[in-house]
């Protein structure tokens, strides 16, 4: 056998036109499917990213900035020791009459109504918030370094009071 014999024998082999046509059709179909799949992939990635962002937002909200404010009566809030200054009082220098912070060694000095509320989360810390309508006063209780803190905000807005609490927990 010579190389020419082999070449001659092989030259007689051809792919049929039907086979070529069918293959081209399949290739074009596959290309469309591939394009759809890649588009679907991008959509699913975007959907996952959105989900992650929403979940992250919810998680942040739940863990760091969840605010529940319970409406309480003056009777409920005065059942504790408010008004009897047994602890260390530290009023905000700029807003002397608006915000007051009291520090206690014992939890019992803080009205029980405050501890009964759903805990809010401010800067990742559990804070119990109340609003007393009669005197337009916001109250907040929290535990920090083994001490109990009672915050009061008079004639202020909710957002200002929360802002004040945030500033207290950053320091």
């Amino acid at each position: 056998m010579t190389a020419t014999d082999y070449r001659k024998a092989m030259e007689g082999i051809h792919a049929s036109e039907e086979l070529k046509k069918a293959t081209i059709q399949k290739m074009q179909k596959q290309k469309i499917t591939k394009r759809h799949v890649s588009r679907l992939r991008y959509i699913s990635i975007a959907a996952c990213a959105c989900l992650f962002v929403f979940w992250g937002g919810y998680y942040y909200h739940a863990q760091y900035s969840r605010i529940y404010i319970k409406q309480v009566s003056s009777l409920e809030i005065s059942s504790g020791s408010i008004g009897v200054q047994t602890g260390k009082v530290d009023s905000d220098t700029g807003k002397k009459d608006i915000f007051i912070t009291e520090t206690y060694q014992n939890r019992e000095f803080i009205p029980e109504a405050l501890w009964d509320t759903n805990p809010s989360m401010i800067r990742g810390r559990k804070v119990y918030l109340c609003f007393e309508e009669e005197t337009q006063t916001y109250y907040a209780a929290a535990k920090q370094n083994g001490k109990y803190l009672l915050f009061q905000g008079r004639n202020t807005k909710e957002s200002e009071f929360v802002q004040y609490l945030k500033s207290c927990f950053t320091e």
Partner: protein, 157 residues
């Protein structure tokens, strides 16, 4: 190059290898389609035609290997063995070289075809088949001898 152009240009190259490797036109058709579908899947944009040809040859050989080692294929028995159905008629080249190639081992077919028909050098074949030049040279020598023996036996018979 569009898909159609690629098929038109390399159809015979791919089909010949698929046929001499699979030894059956029906199986060769399957391999042929598989190779070009893989080309679309890979998204290859090869400007150099020679490079594309070498890639297609490599993929054809791989497809033939996986088709032959397929678990399903090994377990399948032709329907004709159990029924009265007749085997479909395929057009085979039907010459003595084709008959001799059928008796050759797969590896020998690759080197003989790439060397004698596609005109690749030993170095190029070694690159396509991922072997050393010495191994390809030895394989080609043995394959040529084996093919010669088969052809002579055929003539004598």
């Amino acid at each position: 190059m569009t898909e159609e152009e690629v098929v038109q240009k390399f159809a015979d190259t791919v089909y010949r290898i698929a046929l001499i490797r699979m030894k059956h036109p029906g199986d060769a058709d399957d391999v042929f389609q598989e190779v070009f579908l893989r080309y679309v899947q890979s998204g290859k944009q090869i400007r150099d035609e020679e490079h594309l040809k070498a890639w297609l040859i490599r993929v054809t050989i791989n497809c033939c290997n996986s088709a032959q080692s397929n678990w399903w294929r090994k377990k399948v028995v032709p329907l004709m063995e159990y029924t009265d159905l007749k085997e479909p008629v395929y057009e085979e080249p039907g010459n003595e070289i084709w008959e001799a190639l059928k008796k050759l081992p797969q590896k020998d077919i690759d080197v003989i075809h790439l060397f004698y028909f596609e005109g690749y050098s030993i170095k190029e074949i070694s690159r396509i088949l991922h072997g050393t030049e010495t191994a390809i040279k030895t394989r080609l020598f043995r394959a040529r001898k084996r093919l010669q023996t088969i052809l002579e036996e055929g003539k004598e018979g």
